[in-house]
C-alpha cells in the first residue's frame, strides 16, 4: 500500500490506456510518455499491463506502508527515499514507513513511479488510466489517498540502472504528412517544418497548443469530423496548431496537417509551457 502525502501539481494513475472503444467516443488515454511508463514497469519486473503513477512537474510524495520496490523514470527529478538521494531509472527499495519524494524536474514534465505489482485502482473499460478529457478512470491523486498494490509482478528485476538520455535541449519532432495537408496553404507544411514553435501555457494531457507563425488555410469550407490519432497536428481557424497527446478527442473537425511519428511522442509528452521545439519531415 502507498499513501499519497502530496500529489504535486497533478498526479494520475496511468497504464496502456483503453484502446478499442473509439467507435463509441471513448479516447485511448494512457501514459503520455509510454516509453518512460514501460521502462518504469520493466525496472521493477512488472507486467506491461501494470499501472504507474504519472507525476506532472514533480512534487509527488508517497509513503510506503510496507517495504516496496519502486522505480522513477521520465522527466529527471531529484528523488529521495527515506530522506536520502536516490537515482532515477533504477529499482529502489522503499522501507516500510519511509517516504519516496520527487522534487521538481529541471527539464521535462512527466515522471513515472512504478511499484512492483502495479498500482491497483479499479479498472474502467479495461484500463486504470485517468482520462482528463472524458472523465473516465480514477480522479487525480489527492493527499490522503491510499493506493493498493496489485499482482502485476512478473520475474524479479535484474537491471540495476537503465541508461536513459535526458530530454534534449533542442527538441525536434519528426512528422509525416497528415491526411488533410491539402486543406492548408501550400507553404503550411514548409513553415511547420522550418520555423520554430513554442508550447503555450494552454497545454495539458489532451494536447500541446503551439505558438509560432500562423498557418493559413487553403480551403474555407467545413471539414466533416474525422478520427484523430496521438501526434496529430491539427490546425484550427486561428492558424495555431494543436499537437494531440494521450487524452485527445476521438474525432476532430479541423484539418490535420501532419502527424508526429510514434517514436517521438514520448519527447512531445515531456514538453512544457514555454519550451521551444521544431518539426522535421520524417521523409
Amino acid at each position: 500500500m502507498l499513501r499519497v502525502l502530496a500529489p504535486g501539481p497533478l498526479a494520475t494513475v496511468q497504464d496502456a490506456g483503453r484502446p478499442g472503444w473509439a467507435a463509441i467516443g471513448v479516447p485511448r488515454s494512457g501514459a503520455a510518455d509510454r516509453a518512460a511508463h514501460d521502462l518504469a514497469n520493466r525496472l521493477v519486473g512488472n507486467l506491461p499491463s501494470a499501472a504507474t503513477v504519472e507525476a506532472t512537474a514533480g512534487g509527488l510524495r508517497l509513503r510506503a506502508e510496507r517495504t516496496t520496490l519502486v522505480a522513477v523514470t521520465g522527466a529527471p527529478v531529484p528523488v529521495t527515499v527515506a530522506g536520502r538521494a536516490a537515482p532515477c531509472n533504477a529499482p529502489l527499495t522503499v522501507p516500510a514507513g519511509a517516504e519516496l519524494v520527487l522534487g521538481t524536474p529541471a527539464i521535462g514534465l512527466r515522471s513515472y513511479v512504478a511499484v512492483r505489482g502495479g498500482v491497483d485502482v479499479a479498472q474502467v473499460l479495461g484500463s486504470r488510466s485517468t482520462d482528463r478529457l472524458s472523465g473516465l478512470g480514477p480522479e487525480p491523486l489527492a493527499a490522503g489517498d491510499v493506493l493498493a498494490v496489485g499482482d502485476a509482478a512478473g520475474e524479479e528485476p535484474v537491471v540495476d540502472v537503465a541508461p536513459v538520455r535526458p530530454p534534449p535541449d533542442r527538441p525536434v519532432l519528426r512528422v509525416l504528412p497528415g491526411p488533410r495537408r491539402d486543406w492548408l496553404a501550400p507553404d503550411a507544411w514548409t513553415r511547420l517544418t522550418s520555423d520554430g514553435w513554442t508550447v503555450s501555457p494552454d497545454s495539458d494531457r489532451v494536447g500541446l497548443r503551439l505558438t509560432g507563425p500562423r498557418l493559413e488555410r487553403a480551403r474555407d469550407d467545413e471539414l466533416p469530423s474525422e478520427g484523430l490519432v496521438p501526434g496529430a497536428v491539427q490546425v484550427p481557424p486561428d492558424g495555431a496548431p494543436v499537437l494531440f497527446l494521450a487524452d485527445h478527442p476521438v474525432t476532430g473537425g479541423y484539418p490535420v496537417l501532419a502527424v508526429v511519428v510514434t517514436a517521438d511522442l514520448p519527447m512531445a509528452a515531456q514538453l512544457r509551457p514555454g519550451d521551444e521545439l521544431r518539426f522535421r519531415a520524417a521523409r
Binding site: 472503444w21 467516443g25 474502467v124 491526411p179 478520427g227 490519432v229 476521438v250 474525432t251 502527424v259 510514434t262
Partner: protein, 206 residues
C-alpha cells in the same frame, strides 16, 4: 451513390479511408469489424471517413486491401439492434426549431418520432451517437451561440443529425427534449446504448 474510396496516409500507425457518405462509412466499418486488418486495434467511423488504427506501420498491402472494401453494406447482415428512446419533448429550443422548420410543435414532434434513425458514428463524448435519418426539412443549423452547459439526457438536433448528451457538457445543438435513458454505463456491455449501426426511434413520453 458514387463508389469513391480513397486511402489517405495518417502517420505511422493509421490509415484514413475516405468515402462519399454514411452508407459507405457503415459498409467499410462493418467489413473491417468482421474481417480486421492484421494488427487492427481500433476503428473510428465518422461522417465521411473510417480511421483504421494499427499496432504497426501500415503497409502497401493494407491500402490495397482497404481499396477493395465493399461500399454497400452486405444484405441480410447481423440482426440490427433497435432502441426505443423515450423523450419528453420540452426542450428550450423546441419552438425555435418549429419556427425554423415551418411546422407547429405537435407536427414537429410527430415527424421526429416517425423518423427512422440510425447511429452513424460516435465521437463527441463517450456514448454520444450521431443519429442520421432525419428528413431533410428537419435539418436545422446549430445555435449561433453554444450553451456552456447542456444537461445530461438532453436531446438535440444539428444539421442532418440528432443526438442525446450522455453527460453534461457544452454544446451548440438545438435542444428539443430530454431522455432518462442511460446512454453510457461503464459496467454495461456494450457501455454505450447507441453504438454505430443501431436503429433508434424517438418515442414521446410526457
Amino acid at each position: 451513390m458514387s463508389d469513391r474510396l480513397v486511402v489517405l496516409p495518417y502517420g505511422d500507425r493509421a490509415l484514413l479511408v475516405e468515402v462519399d457518405g454514411l452508407d459507405a462509412v457503415a459498409a467499410v466499418r462493418t467489413a473491417l469489424d468482421h474481417d480486421p486488418l492484421p494488427g487492427q486495434v481500433d476503428l473510428v467511423p465518422a461522417a465521411r471517413t473510417v480511421l483504421v488504427l494499427l499496432d504497426r506501420p501500415p503497409a502497401e498491402t493494407d491500402s490495397a486491401r482497404l481499396r477493395r472494401l465493399p461500399l454497400t453494406p452486405p444484405a441480410g447482415d447481423d440482426a440490427v439492434r433497435t432502441v426505443d428512446l423515450p423523450v419528453v419533448f420540452d426542450g428550450p429550443d423546441l419552438s425555435d426549431v418549429a419556427d425554423l422548420t415551418g411546422r407547429p410543435v405537435p407536427q414537429l414532434v410527430e415527424e421526429l418520432t416517425a423518423a427512422e434513425l440510425t447511429v452513424a458514428f460516435g465521437g463527441f463524448a463517450p456514448g454520444f451517437g450521431y443519429l442520421t435519418g432525419l428528413p431533410e426539412h428537419l435539418h436545422v443549423p446549430r445555435r449561433s451561440t453554444p450553451r456552456t452547459r447542456v444537461p445530461a439526457g438532453a436531446v438535440g438536433l444539428a444539421g442532418p443529425f440528432a443526438g442525446a448528451y450522455p453527460r453534461a457538457s457544452p454544446g451548440g445543438w438545438q435542444l428539443v427534449g430530454r431522455t432518462d435513458a442511460v446512454l453510457f454505463d461503464v459496467d454495461r456491455d456494450p457501455p454505450a446504448l447507441l453504438i454505430p449501426g443501431t436503429r433508434v426511434r424517438l418515442r414521446e413520453v410526457r
